[in-house]
Structure formats: structure tokens, C-alpha cells
Amino acid sequence: MIVMALPKGRILDESLSFLAGCRMQVPRDIGATRKLQVSSDDGSYRFVLVKPMDLPTYVEYGVADAGICGTDVLREFLPDVHQPLDLQFGRCRMVVAGLSRISARPSARVATRYPRIAEQFFRERGEAVEVIPLSGSVELAPALGLAERIVDLVETGNTLRENGLVIVEEIMQCTARLIINRASFHTKQGEISRLLDSMEKQLL
């Protein structure tokens, strides 16, 4: 049996329809129930729902054999896992955004849920900034004066607009990736191989 970690939130629905397309018997109500663990009808998979930012940890320790994880989270946490496939959904952009009105005194503070990515991005350009790690509602930071700019994910741009923010520049494109534990890749070689085959077929 393969234990597969799925991220709650943004990419869960797309993950479920992708898995259904791979002919995996995912229980239909998995997104709706409050249960965090569900087995597939044929018992060959157990799905666990976890917070996106925690997902790489479950797979790295091997308590989940595989998982679906955004490249934003992979770049931030750099887990030591295999990442064989880009699943082509969950597309969004990681951007630097700031207030649309021009500030008189540019501040060096950047609020973000991705401190490592932000830090690296600005440092590589030789720009000295103070990165302020937050765990949510990052869009609020500029309006409240906590930071001049933010680094965050953008899908439609609506949330940014509603908070008076505009995109300053793009850092990277993000998608959903399949990740696999390095030990499970070998110890469950047959099952993992079948999983990869069915996903590759679905992606063609």
C-alpha cells in the first residue's frame, strides 16, 4: 500500500481530479469530510490530508511514500526527496508586490510566507532587505505599514488588487509536482513504478 500525502487548500481539488484521471479510486467525499485519512476503494492507496507547508516533511521522513506538492513549497523547504513529474496543474506565479501609490521613502522590509525564497531572490541581486516571515494574510502587511513589499503567490491577482497592491516583478512560475520518499522509491519499487506509469500516461 502506498501512503500519499495531499495538500489541503489551493491545489486539493485539482489533485483529486488528476488522481481520478489516473484511475485511482479516490473516495469522492475526501475533500468534504473532516477525516484526514482515507483509503482508496481497492485498498492500494491511503490518502492523508496535510497542510501544504508540512507536506514535504511527511514525505521526507517516509511516513508518506509520495505526495503532491507545489514548487513554491519545494523551493522554500528544499526537502531531500525525489521529484519525478511536473503535474501541469496548480499553476501560479511567485511575485514581488507593493503598494500602487509611489512611496516617498522606499523601505527595505519585505513580508512573506517564503523567507528563504525572498531572502535568496534579493540577495542574489545585491539588494539588502529585511525579510519579515509571516504565516498568512501577507497582503495586509503593506497597508498596515509592516513592510513596503511582499513576496507571495498570485493566481488571479484579485487579492492583490483588493488590498491596493500591484505586481512589481515575477520570481518564478509554480506548478504541482509529484514527490516520492527516497527509501520508498526502492522498498516499494513495484507499486511506485505502477504509480509513475499511470501518471505519465495521464500527462501525455
Binding site: 521526507e60 521522513y61 517516509g62 511516513v63 531531500d80 526527496v81 525525489h82 521529484q83 519525478p84 513529474l85 511536473d86 509536482r177 516520492i180 520518499n181 527516497r182 527509501a183 520508498s184 522509491f185 526502492h186 522498498t187 519499487q189 513504478s193 509513475l196
Partner: protein
Amino acid sequence: MQKLRTLAPGVQYLKDPDSRIRRIILERLRETFYGWSYQELVLPIIDYAESFQIALGSAVEERMYSFVGRDGSLLALRPDITTLVAKVVAADATTDLPLRLCYDGEVFRHENPKAGQQREFYQAGVELIGSDSPPAEIEVLLVLLEALARAGLKSIIIPLGHAEFFNGIVESLDLGREMGAALKNLVDHKDSWGIAQTISSLDIPQAERDFLKALPRLAGRREVLDRAELVVKNQRSREALERLAKIFDEFSALGVADRFLIDLGEVRDLDYYTGLIFKVYSENLGFEIGGGGRYDSLIAKFGRSLPAVGFSVGLERLMTALLLRAPAQASAERLQDFRVAMRLRQQNKRIHMEYGS
């Protein structure tokens, strides 16, 4: 007072019974090494940082605990023991070959503690020095199997790879240093998609393109070698495949082939290993217990050219793999106690549960 009791990050202490279990495991390993005629070496914990820099390269250098000695020289806590074995062997030219050496002891690496990785950990291992033939590799792997079986771990899987397989591909396609390094990193993460993206700009034949994309999937049972042989043309890679086939077939004859797999995408530590590379996994642990391989150019760095093959296992990880099953068993027993107690209470008996200390 509270402050004084704080533990430094990345270190642990063991109490009975864990400390006793570790000692017993270590004794099982030592008995196995002794039985195969490996001689025990006790090595210094402190050495010149330069030894490790030369042997292990920059990747380990960054994670080394180094400090300045009283005379101004740069010293380090050993981040690896094989380096010290190589140094000792190079210094003593009078020894008969092949040499069979074993060791165990603490190793120190400044890493972020995570997935079974502490900053101070305990390694045990063997090195067979002076033979470049397949039987030396087979012996070392058999010692490993026996040592782990004696320690009580039987559900292990050892994927075998070969450094020259990947090196041969990079050379034959004339990929160059930078592209070779990028490809190696992608293969290390079995990133088929990333490989496809990266090589899309390369001017190479379609067949080679397809092969590179398929490289991460060249892992599994013995038939992987046959599949690879059909598509790989360069001599270096073909010799690597032949060598792996020879080893694998010998394990089949010995009846232990079910413990082994092939992983032609095993490319980590290519700067260190020159031939066979392997990792040891347990079916219930998410990270490797140990690993090893052939390193024919290490001892030469200390002035004596000798082929060598060896392995090391992490004692803490081995313990984790052995003990992981125990708690599940305990809770099953407790569940049974609760069931019995419930039945008795239904008969209006009064039950007092004891859970030990």
C-alpha cells in the same frame, strides 16, 4: 539553572535500555567484522581540516566543525572516518594486501537536524583495501548483509549503482562540466520532467534524448541492466553494466538476490566513488541506514595508490529501524488489556489499570 540544563542542538544522550541496545547492536556488528577477519582500527577524533578537505571536497567542508589549534593550525572534528583509514593506510607501506579494516566511532557534521540526521552520530564500517576485483565488492556486501541480520534487521533493500555508468554518459555525449553537473542534480532527484526541460536545447540525437529522460526510471530488478544494455553504447557505461551484472548474478547464485535492486540513477557522491555505489534501506524507515562503494582514488590523495571498497552504517538509524516495530506491538498489547478490562467491568467487576512507569 534551567539554562545550564539546555542541550546543544543536534546531540543526544541515551539512557538504559537504549544505551544497552546500542551497545548490543554494536557488538553484533563487531562480531561479524571479526568473523570475516577484519582488523579493528581506533582512530583520532581530531585531525587537520585539510585531510578532510582534500578527501571529501567542498560539500563536506562547509559542514565541518573546524577550529584553530593552539599552534595556529586548522583542526576539525572528523566528519568521516574512511578519510582517516585512508591516511593511516597510506602512511604504512609495509602492510600485506589486501587489507581488511573495520572501525566504529562518533562522527560530527554541522547539518540542520532533520529526518534521522543529528550533528553527532555514531558510525560503524569496514574497508577492504588493495583489491579492485568484483569478489572484493561481493565480500563487502555480504559482510553488510550478515552484520545487519545479526543485529536483527532482515527486511533490508540495497540498490546497487555504478559511478562509471553516469560518467560514461556525460563523456560520450560531450555534455561539458556545467551541463553534466546540472544533469547529475536532476538525476539525483529522479526528475524526468526537469531533464526533459534541460536537454531540450541540446543538439543530440533523439535516441539519446529519450534515454536521458528515461534514466531516472532505470531502477528496479535485474532486468534494468538488460534494458540499459540495449540503449547504452559508450564503453565506460557498458563496462559498468557488465560489472553490476556479474555482482548481481553471483548474489542470485548465493540465494540473496532478493535483498538487492539496481539503481543506475544513483549519482550522489560521484566525486568520491569511482565504481560500485550502494545505499542500504530498511522497509520501515524513510531514509537510508548506511551506504558505501568503491573509492579507488582516495588513498592516492595521501600518497599511496590503492583500490578500496567499503561501507558504513549509522548506529542511530539502525536502532530506529529496529525499534520502530516495538511501540506498535506495545500498543496492541495495551489494546488487548483494555478489551479484557471492559469485559470484566461489564460483569460489574472493578478494574484498576496499571501502565508501568
